[in-house]
């Protein structure tokens, strides 16, 4: 093995670590003391004492170990290192060596390859070939190479290859003798040989093919005979049974392989859990609402709309659940129950169902999943799947077809339902299943005109479904426009004579769901209507100095506002303007007729509804109620209270609610009034007055309980109390009103309640100024210029670099000096050797010379 020569790093370490001998340290001549200029307390210095001799010798030693070795091996080539186990170890016997090597090899291969080899058999080899493969070799010779090899062993070839040169020559000569006398060249001989061998090969192949054909033929014949052999039947049947069994098994294995792995599905929730979840959801919503009511969350942008499920991709696809339900399967059949429900729903029989669907969306999804699972378990044919795809892909675009199919299947499945279904069909027959979204208000009008309120609802429902935002790009804008048109339509329905409030009522769920889909658009639409109406009111106020009560459409819009948006918010883009609108109407719109009083009362109801949750103080509401009650007082002189705008202390229209006929109270009974006001006869008018008064008192009662906790509760209700106690002709009114009257008087204390004087909120004490010193981290001692941290760091690094550079320079110089010394030493030693050798030579020569001279002297003697 080749490998770079390396110095063991251990040596230099050893040199460094080895302590100078203690006697050297004790020797005062060896020690150099570094004098300190200042004695700094607490500073430990490592370098107060130095051992120059020791450190120099240590440095030289170190160089010898490292630099010198490097120098010596300079310009030398690499060398072989045999890393086989125990190669240079003479202590181990060769047998042991082999054994060890074998185990090592086994270990190595075992570690790498056969980690996961479960059957422990190692592959046995023979001459590097797997024995298993050798075993597999069949008798049938089908490989060309095999045949070739076999051909090689033929006598002629061996003769030609292995020293059969004579034989070949002999053969040739024999051929020559038979044909020509001319001897063939070697080239020709070889060509001949090749041709021959090829021919042989071809022959062999045809033989083999023939043999195969024959065996096959034999097999077939045997099969035909087999049937005749009666005693062989059991084996035969077993054979036949085996085959299909195997196939079945294979199929099953394959199926199992392809089958989806069991996925962890969500646990089906029990009713309790569902209820708990629902409660939790409502709790979070309520907490959110409360936060907004306090005005805390005003700046918080994160809105948690819990109508959105966790899987929602926020495209506003909320109604999805409802839609899919129409195409659910159960146990391989159409889910008739679901369909029925849906139908009922469409017929408007069960409003609760829809609310349930909207509310418990999670539940709905759960059901869906269940149904889907059922469907799968049923393992119905592919038709189902197709249908499902169709449904999910195209949604309700071809609801028409689907519904038709639905009908068919349901007829097959539930014959008993047929009659009912038929009647429902008749009712539904006229309505198409898809609608184009209205592009203008008149479109909407023409779409909805002439249908019953339920049908209108159905139409809208389908329109919304057909144009769900997830289906096409332009649908969002269409539906947003639709919301505006719907509001306009509702306004028109309310202004009709007589108003069609039933339809308005029926359309509310649609409006609500659209609003949930597009809060921004809904907000804009309601805002525009409010602002327009307020603007026209402002204009009439400026021109005439007074305005008429808002019409029923505005009242309905305000009511819808309260249904769509939370009125309890501290500040809300829609409800705050709505508040202001009501306030403006209650302060500026004059009451000149019973109808006005009605509208005023409706506004009061709305106002109370608006503040009922947040318990906010609404002075205009109480002013207006006081004013309305004032209208019932027959004697307007010397009152102990003041009514404010729009009412007057005295003047025309001030006796609007005074009973004309005292007997009317006997025939009056309490019942809710109609939102649509109409002209009435004198007796009816008196009844109306009584109803108004009744409602008015009820509202006052609600107010008293609502504002009970306000600090100025007593002062707020004092005028009303005075009016009720001293001026209202209670004895004229029916008993129920008298009861109400008494209850209110009980609720309002005679004397305002007591309160602690106001004090400022306790402020958090301002923490004392801390006097701990400011700690500045010193990165490096000594004088370093630069003020900022970065500059100091830079200076420090510069300094360090300089120092290191100098040190390195010094080291290099020492190295070169050392090397030069070594080289000189080498030369010196070489010279000394040479001198010594020369001296020896001279010596031997001198000896020789001496001997020779002695011999010569001897001869001469």
């Amino acid at each position: 093995m080749m490998r770079k020569q390396k110095f063991s790093s251990g040596l230099s370490d050893k040199v460094r670590k080895s302590k100078a001998a203690p006697e050297i340290q004790k020797n005062p001549f060896e020690v150099k003391i570094n004098r300190k200029k200042f004695d700094v307390l607490g500073r430990k210095s490592k370098h107060d004492v130095g051992l120059p001799g020791v450190s120099r010798s240590r440095a030289i030693k170190k160089r010898k170990e490292t630099l010198l070795k490097e120098f010596r091996t300079k310009d030398k080539n690499n060398k072989f290192v045999d890393r086989r186990f125990g190669e240079y170890d003479n202590k181990i016997t060769p047998e042991e060596k082999i054994l060890q090597r074998f185990t090592l090899e086994r270990q190595r291969t075992h570690d790498r390859k056969d980690m996961y080899n479960l059957n422990e058999e190692e592959e046995l080899t023979h001459y590097g070939q797997s024995l298993a493969e050798l075993e597999k070799m069949t008798d049938v010779i089908d490989s060309d190479s095999d045949s070739e090899e076999k051909g090689l062993l033929s006598a002629e070839l061996t003769a030609t290859h292995f020293g059969g040169g004579g034989g070949l020559l002999r053969k040739k000569s024999a051929g020559d003798e038979g044909d020509e006398h001319r001897p063939k060249s070697r080239q020709e001989l070889i060509e001949e040989l090749i041709v021959k061998s090829k021919q042989e090969k071809r022959e062999r192949q045809t033989q083999k093919e023939e043999a195969q054909v024959l065996t096959e033929k034999l097999d077939q014949e045997w099969k035909s005979i087999q049937n005749l052999l009666a005693h062989k039947t059991p084996k035969e049947t077993k054979d036949e049974a085996d085959k299909p069994k195997l196939e079945e098994y294979d199929v099953m294995v394959r199926e199992l392989g392809f089958e989806m792995k069991a996925q962890p599905s969500e646990k089906l929730k029990s009713a309790e859990e569902l209820a708990r979840e629902e409660r939790l959801r409502l709790q979070t919503l309520e907490a959110d609402r409360l936060k907004r009511m306090m005005g805390e969350a005003e700046e918080e942008s994160a809105q948690t709309d819990t109508h959105i499920s966790a899987d929602d991709i926020n495209d506003g696809f909320v109604l999805d659940g409802d839609e899919r339900k129409t195409l659910a399967y159960k146990d391989g059949k159409w889910n008739i129950e679901g369909e029925e429900e849906e139908d009922d729903d469409e017929e408007g029989g069960e409003e609760e169902h829809e609310t349930g669907a909207d509310d418990d969306e999670g539940e709905e999804e759960e059901e869906e999943e269940e149904e889907e699972e059922d469907e799968e378990a049923g393992g119905d044919d592919d038709g189902d799947d197709d249908h499902c795809d169709l449904q999910s892909d195209e949604g309700s675009e071809d609801e028409d077809d689907q519904c038709a199919e639905e009908e068919e299947v349901s007829v097959v499945a539930a014959v008993s339902e047929e009659q009912r279904r038929a009647t429902q069909e008749a009712a539904k027959a006229e309505l198409p299943y898809t609608f184009t979204a209205p592009e203008s208000y008149s479109d909407l009008q023409s779409l909805l005109r002439g249908h019953s309120s339920e049908q209108q609802r159905l139409i809208l429902d389908r329109t919304v479904k057909c144009h769900h935002p997830s289906l096409a790009t332009g649908n969002k804008a269409k539906l947003q426009r639709l919301f505006g048109f719907l509001l306009e339509y509702v306004g028109e329905l309310a202004t009709q004579n007589p108003p069609d409030l039933k339809t308005v009522n029926a359309l509310i769920p649609q409006i609500y769901s659209l609003c949930q889909l597009f809060p921004e658009a809904a907000c804009k639409a309601v805002q525009t209507l409010l602002s327009d109406s307020a603007h026209s009111m402002e204009e009439t106020l400026e021109v005439k100095g007074r305005a008429a009560m808002p019409n029923l459409d505005m009242l309905v819009l305000l009511k819808i506002t309260a249904l769509l948006f939370p009125t309890s918010d501290f500040r809300h883009p829609v409800t705050t303007p709505a508040f202001l609108y009501i306030s403006q109407a209650l302060t500026k719109c004059v009451v000149v007729s019973l109808e006005d009083a009605y509208k005023g009362l409706i506004l009061c109801c709305l106002a109370l509804e608006f503040v009922s949750l947040s318990q906010r103080f609404f002075p205009e509401l109480l002013n207006f109620l006081l004013g309305l009650l004032h209208l019932t007082v027959p004697d307007k002189s010397s009152t102990g209270y003041t009514v404010v705008s729009p009412f007057r202390q005295q003047g025309k229209n001030c006796d609007l609610l005074v009973l004309t006929d005292p007997n009317a109270s006997h025939s009056w009974n309490r019942k809710p009034m109609s939102l649509c006001t109409a002209h009435r006869s004198p007796v009816e008018r008196d009844h109306c007055r009584l109803s108004l008064l009744d409602s008015c008192l009820d509202l006052v009662k609600r107010c008293t309980s609502l504002y009970k906790h306000l600090t100025s509760y007593g002062h707020i209700f004092q005028p009303i109390r005075t009016l009720l106690l001293n001026h209202l002709p209670v004895e004229l009114y029916p008993a129920s009103i008298q009861d109400l009257h008494r209850e209110i008087l009980d609720a309002i204390p005679e004397e305002p309640s007591q309160h602690a004087p106001l004090v400022f909120k306790k402020k958090k004490p301002i923490p004392l100024k801390l006097l701990t010193p400011k700690i500045v981290q010193i990165l490096d001692y000594g004088k370093k210029r630069g003020n900022t941290k970065e500059e100091k760091e830079r200076e420090r690094l510069k300094h360090k670099y300089k120092r290191e550079f100098k040190g390195a320079l010094r080291e290099i110089r020492k190295d070169t000096r050392f090397l030069a010394q070594e080289k000189l030493n080498d030369i010196m030693s070489r010279d000394a050797e040479r001198k010594r050798k020369v001296k020896a030579l001279y010596g031997s020569l001198a000896n020789q010379e001496g001997e020779w001279k002695a011999l010569k002297r001897m001869k001469r003697k």
């Binding site: 402002e538 003041t642 004087p757």
Partner: protein, 525 residues
């Protein structure tokens, strides 16, 4: 078709004919004295049924008589009666002049009558013509006067004009507004003012001092627009230029103008006026009347009477009184007591709310006011704010805070640590008229505490201010004064919102919410 065309043609022909006749006659009268009698025909047209004819004739008359006045063809001096003309021994020249003068007089009379004509065009032309006559007469006086002592101005004509202008039966506001253009001339204005004064006295005495709304309205329209230049140097714009001693002329002196203005107003206010008129007068009093009077203190009686009436009129009188107190050292006893009594629940609902709070802010700005007084105001305003609409509350709450800032001793109203945690009745007596005895200083502003629960976020926030020590800097309420409910709403509508929270209770029907109140009392049927 035919008849109409016929009439059309006829109408046209008659039109053409009257224009032609009037024109030819006018020319002949001006050119030659022989045709003097044609003037009758021209004047006759002034009484015509047709407006166009009248207008045309008026213009013709204006031409004729202006020309004659220029020429001096009208008799100057005391006019002898027409009957006497026959047997008087006068020259033909003189006779002609007297004749023409009579015609002139009858023309003026007819024109004055035409001022009461139903058509505005006729009125306007007559007025303009008469003013031309005024100018012409001023240049060529018809009275034989001693030049050195008197100044030329056709007083009689002016008086008659004003008399007709201030009709007792008809609203002349349109014509009066047209007349204003003439009143820019200083002398006209001066003589109008004195004429109005005379006229008022005469008319009111004749009607036994009873209220005549139409007449008084006309007078008000006329005199409320009178605008006297602020500096004497600007008084150069006259319709009649005096040749001598122009500077001594009353109509050219600012002081005289002011005096005339003052007398006119005093006479006007001396008589009983309709109540709406009081409001109108009080609205403009401090701006356009008081500064133009030579001695505004003369208005004190009127103002204090108005201040005592109460209600909106008192509020308005406050402004005039303020000017008098502030600039003319008026000492008004019990002023603050009256101001205090002005505070009642209606104060937040009246039209002049902004003006009142502006003034109240000024009146209460002095730091030398006694604490009890300021506390009484603060407490009363707080109590009244319980019935106020949000627009008023947005003024009142900063107003109250400002008062407490100015008078730190009032801080006890919102911060009384000495008696904390001890519930007590509100010691404040709302019914007490005397601020010193209403115990306001012993009370606390629980009402503001109540308003912290107000439905409008801004109001609630403003009310929250009292929870913590007030900052030193006063809030500027001048911007809030004119805030209308609609503006407040617009502000709310325009605010940018990131998110729109929605109601999470699903709506199923119009009257089916979780907190239904409307559905309890009303049904959909």
């Amino acid at each position: 078709m035919a008849p109409s065309r016929d009439s059309n043609v006829k109408g046209e022909s008659s039109q053409v004919s009257y224009k032609k006749t009037i024109n030819t006659k006018t020319d002949s009268i001006i050119q030659n004295r022989k045709h003097a009698n044609d003037i009758f025909d021209v004047i006759e047209y002034l009484q015509s049924e047709k407006e166009k004819e009248i207008i045309f004739a008026t213009n013709a008359c204006s031409r004729i008589f202006c020309e004659l006045l220029d020429r001096g063809d009208l008799y100057v001096g005391v006019l002898p009666k027409e009957e006497d003309l026959m047997h008087g021994d006068r020259s033909a020249e003189e006779k002609y002049q007297i004749f023409m003068r009579h015609r002139y007089n009858s023309c003026v009379e007819l024109l004055l009558e035409n001022i009461g004509h139903e058509a505005f065009q006729v009125k306007e032309t007559s007025l303009c013509t008469l003013m031309k006559f005024v100018a012409a007469e001023g240049k060529h006086p018809l009275q034989n006067l001693d030049w050195s002592e008197h100044y030329n101005f056709p007083m009689e004509l002016m008086l008659a004009l004003v008399k007709h202008l201030l009709s007792e039966k008809e609203d002349m506001s349109l014509l009066i507004s047209r007349f204003q253009e003439f009143m820019e001339k200083d002398d006209v204005r001066y003589y109008v003012m004195s004429s109005v004064r005379d006229n008022i006295t005469r008319v009111m005495e004749r009607n036994k001092r009873a209220v005549i709304p139409v007449y008084q309205n006309n007078v008000f329209t006329l005199i409320s627009t009178i605008n006297i230049p602020s500096q004497a140097s600007e008084m150069t714009n006259v319709i009649v230029r005096q040749e001598t001693k122009h500077e001594d002329w009353k109509a050219a002196r600012l002081k005289e103008h002011k005096r005339a203005f003052e007398q006119m107003w005093l006479v006007f206010l001396k008589y009983k006026l309709p109540s709406s008129m009081y409001k109108k007068i009080l609205v403009i009093l401090h701006e356009s009347i008081l500064p133009q009077m030579s001695d505004p203190t003369l208005m004190i009686d009127f103002l204090s009477a108005a201040y005592d009436i109460g209600g909106a009129i008192s509020l308005l009188a406050l402004n005039g009184l303020f000017v008098l107190i502030h600039e003319h050292n008026l000492d008004y006893p019990d002023f603050y007591k009256k101001l205090y009594s002005l505070l009642d629940p209606t104060i937040f609902h009246v039209k002049y709310r902004a003006r009142f709070f502006h003034l109240a802010n000024i009146f209460l700005s002095s730091t030398h006011l006694p604490v009890y007084l300021v506390a009484a105001f603060v407490k009363r305003l707080a109590r009244l704010s319980l019935t106020a609409p949000p627009t008023a509350l947005l003024i009142v709450l900063p107003f109250i805070c400002n008062l407490i800032r100015r008078h730190p001793s009032c801080k006890v109203l919102i911060h009384r640590p000495s008696a904390a945690e001890e519930p007590c009745d509100d010691p404040y007596v709302m019914e007490e008229k005397e601020p010193a005895q209403c115990h306001a200083l012993e009370s606390s502003l629980w009402e503001i505490k109540t308003l912290q629960k107000h439905y409008h976020p801004d109001v609630a926030k403003a009310a929250m201010m009292i929870n913590e020590p007030l900052s030193q800097q006063e809030e500027d309420i001048s911007e809030l004064l004119e805030l209308s409910a609609f503006e407040l709403m617009e502000r709310e509508l325009k605010a940018e919102r990131k998110t729109i929270p929605l109601e999470f209770d699903t709506a199923t029907g119009l009257l089916k919410s979780s907190r239904e109140v409307l559905g309890v009392h009303f049904t959909l049927d």
